[in-house]
Amino acid sequence: MKNTRSRLRNRSLFGQFHPPTFLIFLTLFFLCGGIMIVSVGLGEMKIPPLQAGLALLGMGNPSDEVIIYTLRLPRLLMALLVGASLAASGAILQGVMRNPLSSPDIIGITGGASVVTIFFIAFLPQVATSWLPIASFVGGSITALLIYSLAWKKGASPLRILLIGVGLNAAANGLTTLLLILSPLYSANEAMVWLTGSVYSSSWNSVLTFLPWALSLLALSYFFSRHLNAQQMGDEIATGIGQSVQWYRLITILVSIGLASSAVAFSGPIAFVGLMAPHIARMITGPSFGRLLPIASLIGALIVMCADLIARTAFSPLDLPAGLFTAVLGAPFLIFLLYRSGSKT
């Protein structure tokens, strides 16, 4: 009896049931909720938290509801989805590459996605926004394909993938600059805001377009987390367990690209979230991916929501891009990571 139950637990969504992790998950979940209530209340029109909460539930002041539902909530939901997607994408990449510094922005995937997205925004404005995630995904995938094939030399070593990714990122930046200079329709300032990473232009329309992508890809990534555990042990062990290493690496990388590039399509490349969130999550839960991925996604969502809250309110009336604040947060974190990875080896 006891045996069957533990086996059943093993099959649950989060892998092995782990009470402390579950508590952390709940805490983070409520923290997200709290931030949401505070965030919808703050802005040029201040709404006290209690009334904001009531308005969210549809029981508040009608004028509050208008502000919250048309302006603040879509933006907030976008921040949440973007943060969760970027964090999951980073967590997967770090697992597959077995390198603590890999993240979609550093190896050029968001760079490649940016090139194609800017091309569509600038030269083909007649294309509907619902195609943008696909365009962005194509850009991200082309970049990833290039990285993978250029890094191939009797197998694709994670280290080579990283270095070549950095190189391709430089090329992507060059192309983005070229497109910015060529683009007539998009004023340079708007493009800059997008490139710094901002959720300010989110509408219900964009949230609803992004939602199915984000949810299905996040679900896929949780589904594949079992394979990621084996991947991060190293190629020999993963093969030993019976995994076809290169094949699973390809699938998990594809999911990761999908997450990062669909987020980029809507918010621009918000920096360092994909790097930071998985590390913070790993400090809390340890390296097992079943626990890591949900926690990392929540932390990513928290980071982007907080960054956007600060960006929107701290320098009011200026509405700054959220990416500015994730970068400010990310740099000291990065220094810490480099220091730690250096002192270990």
Binding site: L101, D105, I106, F123, L124, L150, A151, K153, K154, G155, S157, L159, R160, L162, L163, I164, V166, G167, L168, N169, A170, A171, N173, G174, L175, T177, L178, L180, I181, L182, S183, P184, L185, A188, N189, M192, V193, L195, T196, A271, F272, L275, F315, L318, L320, P321, G323, L324, A327, V328, A331, L334, I335, L338, Y339, S341, G342, S343, K344, T345
Partner: protein, 349 residues
């Protein structure tokens, strides 16, 4: 590759000739057609016509700046690769370009600084801080400065500096238009005065760098060897670092962050003359200048009104506002295949 000095001298003369030809090409070719007579007359004409004026006011400053910046970036790259004994080191990868650019943007946008004298010093400061930071961060740990750690630390800090730069530009629309082209790495419309102010700094570092040639060769064999031969390695490194800061920072001050020149040129030069720095450094200087001049000419033609690419874009519905590509974009696109080749070679399983 053991080469006799005979061949090396002939090679050096050839690179000088190449530099001379590209310099003249840079004066002659572009959107406005300049024929040979105008070019020669422009030298001494006191009452210049329109074409001669273009040569005097636009083309000559531009070619001179491309030459100086190319020399500086080529030498800075060679020094950095020697100093860190790392094939991927260069001002762009090290984050020096992005750091110096951030400092300049902060100064112009937040502190309303607009004199090139101040810009120069601020760019030096930015170059020193960002270069030092990347060096420090990537040399943590026992194995020291590996190509991977260096590249990642540089890439991450570049991302950080770039985001900050963009953020500042976003909050200050006024400076954006003027600075966007500079930020892409461009030598268009620069003042000759700015170059004249920088020239002493450049000249001193060029001379110092050339004198360092012998010491650098010994240093690249190994620090212990160099010490055993009686070299004061601390001094050599300090002077080389100072030269790198002046060369790279000065280049950013005048031309913006132009990437990957400092990475490619030393590799081409090493392929031609081997790794003796007494020869390598002058080769890097001439090749760097030639490369930047040619890349700049390429940038003029790529989206020139009436050109094939422009026609294609116009058909696609684009109305371009600019008629040339900043040279930094060209060097980035040419440089990346080189970077990838070097990266593939530097990591073996």
């Amino acid at each position: 590759m053991p080469l006799s000095n005979h061949y090396r001298i002939i090679g050096l003369l050839l690179t000088m000739v190449a530099l001379g030809i590209s310099f003249i090409a840079s004066l002659k070719f572009g959107l406005t057609h300049i024929n040979w007579d105008t070019l020669i007359d422009a030298w001494q004409s006191n009452h210049p016509n329109k074409e001669e004026l273009i040569v005097q006011n636009t083309r000559i400053p531009r070619a001179l700046i491309a030459t100086c910046v190319g020399v500086s970036l080529g030498m800075a790259g060679a020094l950095m690769q020697g100093l860190t004994r790392n094939p991927l080191a260069s001002p762009g990868i090290f984050g020096i370009n992005a750091g110096a650019a951030l400092f300049v943007v902060v100064a112009s946008s937040i502190f309303s600084v607009h004199s090139y004298v101040t810009f120069t010093w601020i760019a030096f400061l930015g170059a020193a801080i960002s270069g030092g930071l990347v060096y420090l961060l990537s040399s943590f740990g026992k194995e020291g400065l590996t190509p991977l750690k260096l590249t990642l630390a540089g890439a991450a800090l570049t991302a950080f500096f770039t985001t900050l730069t963009q953020g500042i530009l976003v909050s200050d629309e006024g400076t954006l238009d003027q600075i966007l082209f500079w930020l892409a790495g461009s030598i268009v419309g620069r003042d000759l005065d700015a170059l004249l102010y920088l020239l002493p700094f450049f000249a001193i570092s060029w001379i110092c760098t050339l004198f360092l040639g012998r010491a650098m060769t010994t240093l690249t064999i190994g620090e212990n060897v160099a010490k055993g031969l009686g070299q004061k390695t601390g001094w050599v490194k300090a002077i080389a670092a100072l030269c790198i800061i002046l060369l790279a920072g000065g280049s950013v001050a005048i031309a913006g962050p132009i990437g990957l020149v400092g990475l490619i040129i030393p590799h081409i030069a090493r392929f031609l003359v081997g790794s003796d720095y007494r020869w390598l450094l002058p080769y890097c200087a001439f090749l760097g200048a030639t490369f930047l001049l040619l890349a700049d000419i390429g940038g003029r033609y790529l989206i020139m009104p009436g050109g094939p690419l422009t026609e294609l874009l116009v058909e696609a519905g684009a109305r371009t506002t600019s008629d040339e590509v900043p040279v930094g974009v060209i060097t980035a696109l040419i440089g990346v295949p080189f970077f990838i080749t070097i990266a593939r070679r530097s990591i073996s399983d």
